[in-house]
Symmetry: C2
Subunit: 360 residues, 2 copies
């Protein structure tokens, strides 16, 4: 029996994925050269669709990597000479910080307990930090930092480069790319595709920084997927190495479908489904939203404490044809995580809530 | 009309690819968690199939990255403190060397003109080189280095780590992994899959080196996909970040199909098809094998000089439903490149030769 995946990535495939894949196979997209005009047209198309969807201005390039985790490394190598600063409130924001340390950067952090989030007023950016790393949506704990707070922070510290991890929320966050220098995501979350492609939105200021670092003796910005080389290739809608061509094609098609719905409608639908889930959790005796502060509750990854062991809940829901995620790390057995991505409809969310209710 | 792709990667999809993809979609492989038992079973299966196909001993792990180009960088970061040595005879072996320079390694090279290859007797490895980088099959020029020559070289310089680029030839080369420390390929060449997955075969000696470098102050081995972290995750058939799960599944299935044919038969088929192509080129007045020395002629990427402009040849062949590659770089207009991968049968190669003959 086919299951409906409410897991926070890999996740349910977007309903139109199958027909786009069939078209891609019919058109032999898996075999075309990444140096062909056909590929350049595909890249240009996906770029246009994402640009429309996320309101990305001409100052920013849209680049492709193997994963979003790879982008953590590329941003740090290309945009930080000495010091980075990280808002850490979960396992993935911490990994971004760990990457900085592995690269021998002087990495600062501000930390919140698991399940709590950041507001603008909480944060003081260290004087010499070159890059501020913000996680819009912490997949492990279900905490978000609202975009107005991110924008205010950037405006206050406007000399710093800002990188926003929106891995498990894009295209939901309405980031203002006239202030945000870089943001990134992977396709196996809210875009409803199989994993294997990272998307890096990055501006000319980051490029300038990378070019400057590259000229410094003793500063290594990497060899593969360096920003200057990715950027140069992007000018003709090419990539330095063979990319996930099929993934780039499918991403463009799904972004087109999202644009047909309209980003405002898509965001409203996301908020409406999140409201349904949180309302149920708030009213239930068997579950409780893990994140206390409403403004910090993720709209795309809903985390709940369970009275029963989470494995029982997950197993019972699975019997009904739905897959939800366990809690992350040490919360594995006491929490569940429910993805709220565009691939699952309000009706499906309603069905899930009904099943969860039965377990009360 | 569906074309038959004789391009040297991305290339023709392997005929069984479509049915495996359908099974994967039916089983919702695109949605499963990379932390699930289902994923670990898939990784284990693909590992077993590749291990059988390529005779990989227990000393070596089989790891996954976004691409083979990424593996160039990972090998250099993890296995070289100061000095690497590169056999360069084309554009891709040169890129491996360029990556070493970008990472500020002291990179030595021995170079052959485009179209010429290396033999064991040609090569003297510099005294302090830690890693010897050999390209089994140079995709740009159609030159191979035969495996017995690679093995002899390693035995002579057995204290050095050896990394073999077999991007556009695996599974053809019968590398002896009891002597070769590391080798790698990508799936969009002879495995007949869409691009987006690199495969890194690497032994415990490379791991030891990486662990040693990691302890040295001031030595950075990277943050994403470092060898120690990939290796640790591999112990439970996991990956540090979400990999191309669907690609790993499909690779295991195609490797299984290759094993059903048998690696010896597969290699004989490859050689037989290569013989057909070179025999035709040698006997034709309109084409000429670019590589003069028979022993250096690639069995998997056949490069020919064309009397007519190559664009005319490519275009005429395309009319007949077949796609061949242009020459690489400055040879774009005077050469053609023909992939000889398992996805194209002897009959299809024969059809291609007939078309090429018509243009004489």
């Amino acid at each position: 029996m086919k299951q409906t995946y409410f897991t926070p990535g890999p996740a349910e495939l977007y309903p139109t994925f199958y027909q786009h894949l069939q078209t891609a196979l019919d058109e032999q997209i898996g075999s075309i050269s990444h140096r062909s005009q056909r590929f350049r047209d595909i890249y240009r198309y996906t770029d246009e669709q994402l640009r429309t969807l996320l309101s990305v201005p001409a100052s920013h390039a849209i680049l492709f990597t193997g994963s979003a985790s790879e982008i953590w490394e590329r941003i740090l190598l290309n945009c930080v000479e000495h010091e980075s600063f990280h808002l850490v409130n979960g396992s993935f924001s911490r990994k971004f910080y760990d990457y900085a340390k592995a690269l021998h950067k002087y990495a600062h952090l501000a930390e919140k307990p698991f399940g709590e989030g950041f507001d603008y007023a909480d944060v003081e950016v260290p004087e010499y930090a070159e890059l501020v790393c913000v996680t819009h949506n912490e997949t492990s704990s279900g905490v978000q930092m609202r975009t107005p707070e991110i924008h205010k922070l950037k405006r206050k510290f406007n000399k710093k480069l800002f990188a926003v991890d929106m891995v498990s929320s894009a295209p939901y966050p309405d980031l203002d790319f006239s202030v945000i220098d870089s943001a990134f995501f992977s396709v196996q979350k809210a875009f409803g595709m199989p994993a294997g492609l990272g998307v890096w939105i990055v501006n000319d200021k980051c490029l300038e920084k990378a070019e400057r670092l590259q000229r410094y003796e003793g500063c290594v910005i990497g060899a593969h997927h360096t920003l200057p080389v990715l950027w140069k290739n992007y000018q003709t809608f090419e990539t330095p190495a063979t990319p996930n061509v099929l993934g780039i094609y499918l991403l463009g098609k799904i972004a087109e479908d999202f644009n047909a719905i309209g980003i405002d409608a898509l965001r409203r639908q996301t908020e409406e489904k999140a409201r349904m889930l949180y309302k149920f959790l708030d009213s239930s005796d068997s579950y409780e939203p893990f994140v206390k502060e409403e403004r910090h509750r993720s709209q795309t990854v809903v985390v709940a404490k369970t009275k029963k062991p989470s494995a029982e809940v997950i197993s019972a829901v699975k019997q009904a044809g739905m897959v939800i995620g366990s809690g992350y790390g040490k919360f594995k057995e006491s929490q569940i995580r429910i993805a709220n991505f565009p691939a699952t409809s309000a009706e499906q969310v309603s069905d899930l809530i009904s099943e969860l209710k039965k377990l009360a």
